[in-house]
Protein backbone atom coordinates (compact mmCIF):
# COMPACT_ATOMS: atom_id res chain seq x y z
CA UNK A 1 0.00 0.00 0.00
CA UNK A 2 1.37 3.40 -0.95
CA UNK A 3 1.08 5.97 1.79
CA UNK A 4 2.46 9.00 0.03
CA UNK A 5 0.51 12.05 0.94
CA UNK A 6 -0.78 12.95 -2.47
CA UNK A 7 -1.94 9.63 -3.78
CA UNK A 8 -5.63 9.42 -3.19
CA UNK A 9 -8.39 11.91 -2.98
CA UNK A 10 -10.49 11.57 0.14
CA UNK A 11 -11.13 15.23 0.48
CA UNK A 12 -13.88 15.17 3.06
CA UNK A 13 -11.46 14.45 5.90
CA UNK A 14 -9.03 17.24 5.03
CA UNK A 15 -9.33 20.94 5.80
CA UNK A 16 -6.81 23.74 5.61
CA UNK A 17 -6.72 27.50 5.60
CA UNK A 18 -3.62 27.50 3.38
CA UNK A 19 -4.38 28.01 -0.27
CA UNK A 20 -1.24 26.27 -1.56
CA UNK A 21 -2.11 23.11 0.30
CA UNK A 22 -5.79 23.20 -0.48
CA UNK A 23 -5.11 22.94 -4.18
CA UNK A 24 -3.24 19.69 -4.16
CA UNK A 25 -2.69 18.06 -0.82
CA UNK A 26 -4.89 15.09 -0.21
CA UNK A 27 -4.52 12.09 1.98
CA UNK A 28 -6.05 8.67 1.96
CA UNK A 29 -7.55 9.07 5.37
CA UNK A 30 -9.47 5.86 5.24
CA UNK A 31 -6.44 3.70 4.65
CA UNK A 32 -4.56 5.53 7.40
CA UNK A 33 -7.46 5.27 9.82
CA UNK A 34 -7.42 9.05 10.00
CA UNK A 35 -10.74 10.59 10.84
CA UNK A 36 -9.87 14.21 10.11
CA UNK A 37 -6.75 16.06 9.11
CA UNK A 38 -6.63 19.82 9.57
CA UNK A 39 -3.70 21.99 8.55
CA UNK A 40 -3.74 25.58 9.69
CA UNK A 41 -1.30 28.41 10.05
CA UNK A 42 0.74 30.73 7.87
CA UNK A 43 2.85 29.42 5.00
CA UNK A 44 5.77 29.77 4.98
CA UNK A 45 5.82 29.87 8.75
CA UNK A 46 4.32 28.01 11.63
CA UNK A 47 1.91 25.32 10.63
CA UNK A 48 -0.16 23.20 12.95
CA UNK A 49 -1.33 19.83 11.72
CA UNK A 50 -4.11 18.18 13.64
CA UNK A 51 -4.74 14.53 12.96
CA UNK A 52 -7.69 12.82 14.56
CA UNK A 53 -7.52 9.06 14.45
CA UNK A 54 -10.29 6.54 14.47
CA UNK A 55 -8.57 4.62 17.21
CA UNK A 56 -7.21 5.65 20.52
CA UNK A 57 -3.66 6.62 19.66
CA UNK A 58 -3.41 8.87 22.68
CA UNK A 59 -4.05 5.92 24.95
CA UNK A 60 -0.79 4.36 23.95
CA UNK A 61 1.44 7.27 23.10
CA UNK A 62 2.68 8.17 19.68
CA UNK A 63 5.66 5.86 19.91
CA UNK A 64 3.91 3.02 21.67
CA UNK A 65 0.68 2.55 19.83
CA UNK A 66 -1.44 -0.51 20.23
CA UNK A 67 0.32 -3.51 18.86
CA UNK A 68 -2.40 -4.44 16.43
CA UNK A 69 -1.60 -4.74 12.72
CA UNK A 70 -4.14 -2.04 11.83
CA UNK A 71 -2.74 0.43 14.33
CA UNK A 72 0.85 -0.24 13.36
CA UNK A 73 0.00 0.17 9.70
CA UNK A 74 -1.77 3.43 10.40
CA UNK A 75 1.19 4.75 12.37
CA UNK A 76 3.68 3.82 9.64
CA UNK A 77 1.42 5.51 7.12
CA UNK A 78 1.24 8.68 9.17
CA UNK A 79 5.03 8.77 9.49
CA UNK A 80 5.49 8.38 5.73
CA UNK A 81 2.91 11.07 5.08
CA UNK A 82 4.82 13.35 7.44
CA UNK A 83 8.07 12.69 5.60
CA UNK A 84 6.48 13.42 2.25
CA UNK A 85 4.98 16.61 3.61
CA UNK A 86 8.27 17.80 5.06
CA UNK A 87 10.11 17.03 1.83
CA UNK A 88 7.63 18.86 -0.29
CA UNK A 89 7.34 21.90 1.96
CA UNK A 90 10.75 22.40 3.56
CA UNK A 91 9.86 25.91 4.67
CA UNK A 92 7.28 24.60 7.08
CA UNK A 93 8.68 25.47 10.46
CA UNK A 94 6.44 23.45 12.70
CA UNK A 95 4.76 20.17 12.09
CA UNK A 96 2.92 18.64 14.95
CA UNK A 97 0.91 15.50 15.19
CA UNK A 98 -1.82 16.24 17.62
CA UNK A 99 -3.75 13.43 19.21
CA UNK A 100 -7.31 13.50 20.36
CA UNK A 101 -8.53 12.08 23.60
CA UNK A 102 -10.86 9.36 22.44
CA UNK A 103 -11.41 7.91 25.86
CA UNK A 104 -15.01 6.87 25.96
CA UNK A 105 -16.99 8.10 28.91
CA UNK A 106 -19.88 5.81 29.68
CA UNK A 107 -21.47 7.62 32.55
CA UNK A 108 -21.16 10.67 34.76
CA UNK A 109 -22.67 11.15 38.20
CA UNK A 110 -23.03 14.23 40.28
CA UNK A 111 -24.10 14.17 43.91
CA UNK A 112 -26.30 16.40 46.00
CA UNK A 113 -25.66 14.87 49.40
CA UNK A 114 -28.78 12.72 49.20
CA UNK A 115 -28.67 11.07 45.81
CA UNK A 116 -26.26 10.01 43.14
CA UNK A 117 -27.51 11.60 39.96
CA UNK A 118 -26.69 10.17 36.54
CA UNK A 119 -26.27 13.25 34.40
CA UNK A 120 -27.75 11.88 31.18
CA UNK A 121 -30.39 9.46 29.99
CA UNK A 122 -27.60 7.35 28.50
CA UNK A 123 -25.92 7.18 31.87
CA UNK A 124 -29.16 6.30 33.63
CA UNK A 125 -29.70 3.51 31.12
CA UNK A 126 -26.16 2.25 31.69
CA UNK A 127 -26.76 2.15 35.43
CA UNK A 128 -30.04 0.36 34.91
CA UNK A 129 -28.58 -2.19 32.51
CA UNK A 130 -25.27 -2.91 34.16
CA UNK A 131 -24.80 -1.81 37.75
CA UNK A 132 -28.32 -2.71 38.79
CA UNK A 133 -28.23 -6.11 37.16
CA UNK A 134 -24.96 -7.33 38.64
Amino acid sequence: MNYMLSILLVINCFTTNIEQFRAEETVDCESLLIKTLDINGTYPGDITVTITYNFNLAANGRLQIANTPAAMEAYRGAVKANEAFRHKYPKVALYTIIMRDTVNELCRFSFNGKHSLPTSAKCAAWVENTISND
Binding site: D101, V103, F109
Partner: protein, 221 residues
Amino acid sequence: MINVIIPTLGRPHRLISTLQGLKENSKGLVEVIIIADEKDRETIEAVCNYGSTGVTIPLELRVLKGHPTPIEKWNHGARNAKDVEWIMLAADDIVFTHKWDIISVATPNYGFLALRDSPTSEKHFEPHYMATRDWLRTNNGGVLACPHYKHWCPDVEIADRARALGHYVVSEAIIPHNHVIFETASNDATYEKGKAHYAEDLALLHKRQIQGYLNDFESYL
Protein backbone atom coordinates in the same frame (compact mmCIF):
# COMPACT_ATOMS: atom_id res chain seq x y z
CA MET B 1 -10.71 27.12 43.42
CA ILE B 2 -8.83 23.86 42.94
CA ASN B 3 -10.16 21.09 40.74
CA VAL B 4 -8.89 17.86 42.30
CA ILE B 5 -8.62 15.07 39.74
CA ILE B 6 -8.53 11.57 41.29
CA PRO B 7 -8.08 8.52 39.06
CA THR B 8 -8.91 5.34 40.91
CA LEU B 9 -8.87 1.61 40.38
CA GLY B 10 -9.91 -1.17 42.71
CA ARG B 11 -9.43 0.71 45.99
CA PRO B 12 -12.86 1.77 47.20
CA HIS B 13 -11.88 1.90 50.86
CA ARG B 14 -8.77 4.00 50.29
CA LEU B 15 -10.63 6.28 47.92
CA ILE B 16 -13.43 6.90 50.41
CA SER B 17 -10.83 7.61 53.10
CA THR B 18 -9.15 10.11 50.77
CA LEU B 19 -12.50 11.76 50.02
CA GLN B 20 -13.30 11.93 53.71
CA GLY B 21 -9.95 13.65 54.31
CA LEU B 22 -10.72 16.10 51.54
CA LYS B 23 -14.11 16.85 53.02
CA GLU B 24 -12.79 17.36 56.53
CA ASN B 25 -9.60 19.24 55.76
CA SER B 26 -10.43 21.45 52.81
CA LYS B 27 -11.70 24.92 53.48
CA GLY B 28 -14.06 25.44 50.61
CA LEU B 29 -11.66 25.79 47.73
CA VAL B 30 -12.08 22.39 46.09
CA GLU B 31 -14.12 20.56 43.51
CA VAL B 32 -13.45 16.87 42.96
CA ILE B 33 -13.58 14.73 39.84
CA ILE B 34 -13.15 10.98 40.31
CA ILE B 35 -12.38 8.87 37.25
CA ALA B 36 -13.17 5.14 37.41
CA ASP B 37 -13.17 2.13 35.09
CA GLU B 38 -16.50 0.71 33.98
CA LYS B 39 -15.65 -2.70 35.40
CA ASP B 40 -14.71 -1.31 38.80
CA ARG B 41 -18.24 -1.68 40.12
CA GLU B 42 -17.24 -1.80 43.77
CA THR B 43 -15.63 1.62 43.50
CA ILE B 44 -18.52 3.08 41.50
CA GLU B 45 -21.01 1.89 44.06
CA ALA B 46 -18.84 3.08 46.97
CA VAL B 47 -18.61 6.58 45.49
CA CYS B 48 -22.34 6.65 44.75
CA ASN B 49 -23.09 5.61 48.31
CA TYR B 50 -20.63 8.15 49.70
CA GLY B 51 -22.01 10.91 47.50
CA SER B 52 -25.52 10.15 48.72
CA THR B 53 -24.76 10.50 52.39
CA GLY B 54 -24.01 14.08 53.23
CA VAL B 55 -21.00 14.90 51.09
CA THR B 56 -20.43 18.64 51.32
CA ILE B 57 -17.87 19.20 48.59
CA PRO B 58 -18.72 19.41 44.89
CA LEU B 59 -18.14 15.88 43.66
CA GLU B 60 -18.39 14.24 40.28
CA LEU B 61 -17.77 10.65 39.20
CA ARG B 62 -16.91 9.87 35.60
CA VAL B 63 -16.92 6.27 34.43
CA LEU B 64 -14.74 5.40 31.45
CA LYS B 65 -15.01 2.50 29.07
CA GLY B 66 -12.28 -0.13 29.11
CA HIS B 67 -9.11 0.13 31.13
CA PRO B 68 -7.70 3.63 30.70
CA THR B 69 -4.32 4.45 32.19
CA PRO B 70 -4.02 6.88 35.09
CA ILE B 71 -2.55 9.42 32.68
CA GLU B 72 -5.63 9.14 30.50
CA LYS B 73 -7.83 9.50 33.55
CA TRP B 74 -6.03 12.62 34.76
CA ASN B 75 -6.24 14.19 31.35
CA HIS B 76 -9.86 13.22 30.88
CA GLY B 77 -10.70 14.79 34.22
CA ALA B 78 -8.72 17.94 33.49
CA ARG B 79 -10.25 18.20 30.04
CA ASN B 80 -13.66 18.19 31.64
CA ALA B 81 -12.84 20.26 34.70
CA LYS B 82 -14.84 23.38 35.25
CA ASP B 83 -13.15 26.62 34.48
CA VAL B 84 -11.48 27.01 37.86
CA GLU B 85 -8.02 28.46 38.35
CA TRP B 86 -6.10 25.46 39.72
CA ILE B 87 -6.04 21.83 38.60
CA MET B 88 -4.49 19.18 40.83
CA LEU B 89 -3.01 15.86 39.79
CA ALA B 90 -4.22 13.86 42.78
CA ALA B 91 -4.67 10.17 43.60
CA ASP B 92 -6.55 7.78 45.83
CA ASP B 93 -3.49 7.14 47.99
CA ILE B 94 -2.77 10.63 49.28
CA VAL B 95 -3.78 12.26 52.54
CA PHE B 96 -5.20 15.76 52.56
CA THR B 97 -4.11 17.56 55.70
CA HIS B 98 -5.72 20.45 57.57
CA LYS B 99 -6.30 23.54 55.41
CA TRP B 100 -4.11 22.12 52.65
CA ASP B 101 -6.03 24.08 50.02
CA ILE B 102 -5.74 27.49 51.68
CA ILE B 103 -2.11 26.89 52.63
CA SER B 104 -1.23 25.85 49.07
CA VAL B 105 -2.91 28.72 47.32
CA ALA B 106 -1.32 31.14 49.81
CA THR B 107 2.17 29.81 49.02
CA PRO B 108 3.92 32.38 46.80
CA ASN B 109 4.09 30.78 43.35
CA TYR B 110 4.33 31.25 39.61
CA GLY B 111 1.39 28.98 38.81
CA PHE B 112 2.95 25.61 39.65
CA LEU B 113 3.10 23.96 43.07
CA ALA B 114 4.72 20.64 43.87
CA LEU B 115 2.89 18.88 46.70
CA ARG B 116 5.39 17.42 49.13
CA ASP B 117 5.06 14.23 51.12
CA SER B 118 6.75 15.51 54.24
CA PRO B 119 8.39 18.64 55.67
CA THR B 120 11.80 17.12 54.98
CA SER B 121 11.18 16.07 51.41
CA GLU B 122 14.14 16.97 49.20
CA LYS B 123 13.15 15.14 46.05
CA HIS B 124 13.90 16.57 42.63
CA PHE B 125 10.18 16.32 41.99
CA GLU B 126 7.04 15.48 43.94
CA PRO B 127 4.69 12.83 42.59
CA HIS B 128 1.68 15.10 42.90
CA TYR B 129 1.26 18.69 41.94
CA MET B 130 -1.18 21.43 41.10
CA ALA B 131 -0.93 24.14 38.50
CA THR B 132 -3.03 26.96 37.21
CA ARG B 133 -4.82 26.54 33.95
CA ASP B 134 -2.82 29.43 32.49
CA TRP B 135 0.49 27.93 33.59
CA LEU B 136 -0.38 24.58 32.04
CA ARG B 137 -1.40 26.27 28.81
CA THR B 138 1.79 28.27 28.61
CA ASN B 139 4.35 25.87 30.01
CA ASN B 140 3.05 22.29 29.82
CA GLY B 141 1.61 22.08 26.32
CA GLY B 142 -1.92 22.74 27.56
CA VAL B 143 -2.29 19.45 29.42
CA LEU B 144 -2.24 18.33 33.05
CA ALA B 145 0.02 15.33 32.34
CA CYS B 146 2.02 14.52 29.22
CA PRO B 147 -0.21 11.97 27.45
CA HIS B 148 2.66 9.93 26.02
CA TYR B 149 3.34 8.23 29.33
CA LYS B 150 1.30 5.32 30.60
CA HIS B 151 1.74 5.56 34.33
CA TRP B 152 5.01 7.15 35.45
CA CYS B 153 7.04 10.26 34.77
CA PRO B 154 4.66 13.13 33.93
CA ASP B 155 5.53 14.41 37.41
CA VAL B 156 9.24 14.40 36.55
CA GLU B 157 8.64 16.07 33.20
CA ILE B 158 6.50 18.86 34.59
CA ALA B 159 8.97 19.41 37.44
CA ASP B 160 11.81 19.69 34.91
CA ARG B 161 9.77 22.14 32.87
CA ALA B 162 9.00 24.22 35.96
CA ARG B 163 12.62 24.18 37.16
CA ALA B 164 13.88 25.30 33.77
CA LEU B 165 11.65 28.35 34.07
CA GLY B 166 12.54 29.03 37.70
CA HIS B 167 8.92 28.26 38.57
CA TYR B 168 9.43 25.15 40.71
CA VAL B 169 7.81 25.97 44.04
CA VAL B 170 6.83 23.49 46.74
CA SER B 171 3.55 24.08 48.54
CA GLU B 172 3.84 24.83 52.23
CA ALA B 173 1.10 22.27 52.83
CA ILE B 174 2.04 18.66 53.55
CA ILE B 175 0.17 16.03 51.57
CA PRO B 176 1.49 12.58 52.50
CA HIS B 177 1.52 10.08 49.68
CA ASN B 178 1.10 6.53 50.90
CA HIS B 179 2.68 4.47 48.17
CA VAL B 180 4.16 1.02 48.04
CA ILE B 181 7.49 2.32 46.70
CA PHE B 182 7.87 4.49 49.80
CA GLU B 183 6.86 1.50 51.95
CA THR B 184 3.98 3.53 53.30
CA ALA B 185 1.27 1.41 51.72
CA SER B 186 0.75 -2.29 51.24
CA ASN B 187 1.08 -3.65 47.75
CA ASP B 188 -2.01 -4.32 45.69
CA ALA B 189 -3.03 -5.21 42.15
CA THR B 190 -3.20 -1.55 41.12
CA TYR B 191 0.39 -0.90 42.13
CA GLU B 192 1.45 -4.09 40.36
CA LYS B 193 -0.31 -2.94 37.21
CA GLY B 194 1.61 0.31 37.33
CA LYS B 195 4.98 -1.38 37.81
CA ALA B 196 4.62 -3.08 34.44
CA HIS B 197 5.06 0.29 32.70
CA TYR B 198 7.98 1.61 34.71
CA ALA B 199 10.86 0.75 32.37
CA GLU B 200 8.96 1.84 29.28
CA ASP B 201 7.95 5.18 30.78
CA LEU B 202 11.44 5.82 32.11
CA ALA B 203 12.96 5.21 28.67
CA LEU B 204 10.45 7.61 27.16
CA LEU B 205 11.28 10.21 29.81
CA HIS B 206 14.98 10.05 28.93
CA LYS B 207 14.17 10.42 25.26
CA ARG B 208 11.90 13.37 25.89
CA GLN B 209 14.52 15.00 28.14
CA ILE B 210 17.03 14.83 25.29
CA GLN B 211 14.49 16.23 22.83
CA GLY B 212 13.71 19.12 25.17
CA TYR B 213 10.18 18.12 26.11
CA LEU B 214 8.34 18.78 22.89
CA ASN B 215 4.67 19.69 23.03
CA ASP B 216 3.92 16.91 20.54
CA PHE B 217 0.41 16.24 21.76
CA GLU B 218 -2.94 17.86 21.75
CA SER B 219 -3.58 20.80 24.00
CA TYR B 220 -7.01 20.66 25.59
CA LEU B 221 -6.93 23.43 28.18
